[in-house]
Each structure stands twice: as structure tokens, then as C-alpha cells.
């Protein structure tokens, strides 16, 4: 049963990714500004133009171009970046760790803040504290990450300059990293000074990304927790003399967490989507920042590579969440 669910999901993931590839290709091929014209030095001859077109494959028919491009993509070859003159795959994979570290750090923050608020809200249900949490949630939900980011830049970059608001690492601190997972690597090499510097840079952008998700987690988890607080087994635990927090965490939480988990999966992809503008805002050297530069420079192969990578990441996350849901939910497991 599990393997059949997995198979159908894998198939639909493949179809989705194929659709993404087609749409990206179509959008980019209708680009009016001819990218070749922008690359040529003044005084280039027609022969030069033809050579360059042939080099990038722009002289073939659209269908041929797509098939060649798709065959290459499937082998991990996304072509060469026009503006940076390097293979797209290495450029994109070089930036991916920065974005992943930022997104996962933000996800952790969202889970901690949202989970904490849900627990406090359930503990103090029916009091002014819960009402305050609800109002804060409502506000946090209607303000997008872009505005939170700007707000933090003002508050903690200018008024109370305690966090860095620009870049990923202080230029003076340069450990010769052997991977691009700076945060993980600095921790493994026990360079806590660098680790703290990285966190200091990451904190504000990650918080901006985390707040809307934290609000959603708080809202949904609190609702499921409150529903399970009236169930018999919770009452039983209470009569055994557990404290209210013990009851919530040990008894109610394991049963209430499943709907939130599914939602967090989908919302995590939205969070990653938010890194595009947040990285730009905080000059954080990740994929999103590179993507905006690529669009401004009309660097088609690079844009294609980045969008495909994002789409692959999103569909894989959704797949993993679906599978986790199946594995964790006994009703579906034995269905």
C-alpha cells in the first residue's frame, strides 16, 4: 500500500516538474530582448552573431532547443551562465547551501516561536493572554515577510544596531571554508566566533521569514491542542496528577501535531519562496539574490537553472511531507 502511494506521488511529482520545465522554457523563449545582442561587443560581425547563436543553441527550432535543453538538464547540465560565464550548475549549487541554511534556520525559529505560543495559548486558554496571542497572530499573518524585513532593518539595524543587516558573514572573518554550508562547517570545526557571526547575520532575515509561518503554526496547533484537551484520555492524565503543561506536551501534543505538520510542509515552500526578496533586502548571498541579478542581467540559462532548482526543491519537500503524513498517520498506513 505504502509503495503504491509512493509510486503515484512520485509520478505526479515528475509530471509537475516536467510542467515547470515546459513553462519556464516557454516564458524564457518569448523574451523580447535578444540576449545575444547584449553579449556582443560593439562592431561584431554577422558571422560572430551566428557563431554565438550556434554556441548557445539559439539557431535551432524551439522544439529542438527544448529537447536538447531537457536532455542536458536531466544529466545535470544547465548550460553556461551568460553574465558570469561559468556553468550554471556549479553557480547554483554553490549558492544553494546559503539559502538552505537560512530557510532551515527560519523554519526552526518558526516552529519554536509558533509551537511555544500554541503551548502558552493552550495553557492559558480563555484568559487575556490567549486573546493577546490571537490578536498578535492575526497581525503577524497579514504582514508579509518583506515588510517584516524592512521593519527589522529599521529597528535592529538603525535604532538598536545589535544585528547585522547586510551580507552573510563579516568580511574580516574568513575561514577557508571547504563547503558552502558555512554555518554547519563552522560548528563542526568548533569555530564558535564564526558561528556567532553567521547567526548574527542570519538572525534578522530568518526572523522576517519565520514570523508569518510562526503565526500559522501557533494558530493551527493551538486549535488542535484545544480540541484534544477535552478528550477522555487527557482528562484521565489530569486525574493522574500530571501538571497542565505535562498533560499538554505528553498527552495532547502527539495527537494534535499531525494537521500542523502537513501545513508546515506546504508553508515551508512559501518560506523558501520568500528568501528571494528577503535575501535581496539583506544583501545575503544566496540563490534568491542571484536570481534577481540574473533577471536584471537577462541571463536566461541562469534563471532557468535557479527556477528549476527551486521547483525541484518545492516538489521534493511536498513529497516528503506527504510521505511523512502517510507514515505517521495510522489510519492511512493500514488503509
Amino acid at each position: 500500500m505504502l509503495s503504491r502511494i509512493l509510486f503515484t506521488r512520485l509520478l505526479s511529482t515528475a509530471v509537475t516538474l516536467m510542467g515547470v520545465a515546459v513553462i519556464v522554457f516557454v516564458i524564457i523563449r518569448v523574451v523580447p530582448g535578444n540576449p545575444i545582442a547584449m553579449m556582443l561587443p560593439p562592431g561584431a560581425t554577422d558571422a560572430d552573431i551566428e557563431r554565438l547563436k550556434a554556441f548557445y543553441g539559439f539557431d535551432k527550432s524551439i522544439l529542438e532547443q527544448f529537447i536538447v535543453w531537457l536532455a542536458n538538464v536531466l544529466q545535470g547540465d544547465f548550460g553556461n551562465s551568460i553574465s558570469l560565464r561559468q556553468p550554471v550548475s556549479s553557480l547554483v549549487l554553490g549558492r544553494l547551501p546559503a539559502t538552505l541554511e537560512l530557510s532551515i534556520f527560519a523554519l526552526l525559529m518558526a516552529v519554536l516561536i509558533g509551537g511555544g505560543l500554541a503551548l502558552i495559548g493552550t495553557r492559558s486558554r480563555g484568559t487575556a493572554t490567549e486573546a493577546a496571542i490571537d490578536v498578535t497572530n492575526g497581525m503577524a499573518l497579514s504582514i508579509p515577510d518583506f515588510l517584516w524585513g524592512l521593519f527589522f532593518i529599521l529597528m535592529f539595524g538603525v535604532l538598536l544596531p545589535i544585528f547585522h543587516i547586510s551580507g552573510r558573514i563579516s568580511p574580516s572573518l574568513n575561514l577557508d571554508f571547504s563547503t558552502n554550508f558555512y554555518l554547519v562547517e563552522s560548528l563542526l570545526r568548533l569555530r564558535f566566533d564564526i558561528f556567532m557571526d553567521l547567526i548574527g547575520h542570519m538572525f534578522m532575515p530568518a526572523l522576517a521569514l519565520a514570523i508569518p509561518l510562526a503565526a500559522i503554526i501557533a494558530q493551527l496547533l493551538k486549535q488542535s491542542l484545544k480540541e484534544s484537551m477535552n478528550l477522555d484520555y487527557v482528562t484521565l492524565a489530569r486525574t493522574k496528577g500530571y501538571s497542565e503543561y505535562q498533560v499538554i506536551i505528553k498527552e495532547a501534543l502527539p495527537n494534535a501535531v499531525l494537521p500542523t505538520l502537513t501545513l508546515v510542509g506546504v508553508q515551508f515552500t512559501f518560506l523558501i519562496g520568500g528568501t528571494v526578496i528577503i535575501e535581496r533586502l539583506f544583501s545575503y548571498e544566496g540563490l534568491g539574490n542571484m536570481a534577481i541579478d540574473a533577471v536584471i542581467n537577462r541571463d536566461l540559462p541562469l534563471i532557468q537553472g535557479i527556477v528549476i532548482l527551486f521547483a525541484a526543491l518545492f516538489t521534493v519537500i511536498n513529497l516528503v511531507v506527504d510521505m511523512m503524513y502517510v507514515v505517521l498517520n495510522p489510519k492511512l498506513r493500514h488503509a
Partner: protein, 292 residues
Amino acid sequence: MLCSIQSYAMRDTRSEIRPKLGIRLWLCGGWLFCLVLGALFAPWISPQDPLAQDLFAARLPPFWVAGSEPGFWLGTDSLGRDVLSRMLHGARLALIVAFIAGTLTCLIGSTLGIFAGYYQGWADRVISRFIDIWMAFPPVLFAILLIAVIGTGMTSIIIAIIIIDWTRFTRVVRAETMSQSVMDYIASAQVAGRGKFSTMVSEILPNLLPTIVVLLSLEMGIAVIVEAILSFVNLSISTDSPTWGGMIAEGRISIHQAWWVLVFPLIALFLTVLSFSQFGEGLKDRFDPVLR
């Protein structure tokens, strides 16, 4: 402390939040109304020409800070352009995009959603497949990419928003239609001899309207943000027209010298987005037949 007794009863908190919603509706509606007035009459009420540069009046602070000049209420930017006048003119683009892009996205997305949800079958399969594909795109990157392809300008921003956001309506309206279609009143309508299409329009649609209104109001706020983000990365309209996003980008650079260039457009953006989203919620509670 009425709420303390009632919030134990799950979800059933109508009676005590009703008065609060009234205030919220008035506050949000009030801000949006002022903004519309400000945008409409921007050319007449702006104290200065929003494009006029004056390097001798560069980075003047707002009126309550020492060193300000009369006539430049909210200060000037690094080229000496008046912040208040630029904000008023920037509100025009923000609101036009909000209303037009929001409404069109709503019409297209909801139509697809109700058809997919009610007729199901192959139409639903195709639409759902497209939604799946759309969900795999990071929206901001998608928007920037579209603008880069179709060119800058107000029409392009509106088209980009429609292309990106139709799924927001389609997903919700489709699900809502599906849950309405199995209800008894639909069966009765069919028994009473109503056609399928007529049932959809006159029976299901009215029940979807509260949801659609909330989504529409939310979408207008989202459109304002998308416009601001596009202007922020300098991909919206020509560079010298004032936009909130453009002002924010400029304020981000000169943040240590002139905080007001960032702060005032940011406050305007913040209030506008918040108002659109809360206004929709407030309207829903006013018009929801169950709550009423």
C-alpha cells in the same frame, strides 16, 4: 473579559467579537478611504512637485525635527524630492494595481475554481494539474521573471499578478464549491428542475461570495506588496515615477543618513496591506448569512 468565558466554546465567539470587528472595519476602511482620496487628488494636494529635485534641499528631515523646512512636511530624499508628495503620487500606482489586478485575478481565478469544483471531470483534472505546477514556483521570482520577459509598466505588473495569483482563488473556490455541491439544497434545486449551470450561478455562487470577498480584499493587499517588491528591485515602471517600493529601495540605501525616506513609505505600505486584509475579514462577518 467576556471572551474568557466563551472562548472555551470552540469557534463560537461571534457575539463577543462582533463589536470589535465593527471598529476594525471602520479603521481599515477609513485608512483606505483617505488613501483613495489622497491618490485621486494627489496633483492638487501635494505640497511640492514629486519629481522636482533640489540638491540644496537634500535630506531635509520631517517637520518636527530641527533643520526642517516649511512645505516639506515629511522631509526630502537624497535628491531633494519631497517625501510626502512622492508618497501621494506613489499611492496612485499602488491603488490602481490593487483594484484592477485584484479584481481581474479574482474574476479569473474564481471562475476557474467554481467550474472545476462543480463540473469536475477533465476540466478539474487539467486545472488542478496547473495549480500543482504553479505551486512549485516561488511567487516573487515568478513575478520578477514575468516582468523581465513582458517588460516593465503598469499593465505588465497587472498581468504578472494575474498570472501568478489566480491559483489563490481557484484553490479555495474549487474546494468550497465541492463541499457546497454535495449539500441538500443543491439536490433540491436539481429536483426542482434547475439546470446545472443555473444551479451553479444562482445557488452555489451566492454562498461562495463571503469567501470570495475576503480573498479579494486579501489579494488587493498582496497586489500592493507585489507592486512594492517589483518597484523595490526597480522592475515596475519608469524609474523617475514615484513608487512606494522605489522610495523604500532608496531609503534602504540612505538609511543611516535619512531614516524618514524609508520610514514613511513603509508605514503607508504597512497600514495599506493590514487594512486590506482586515477589511475583508470585517466584511465577511458583516455579510456572512450564518453569522448575521
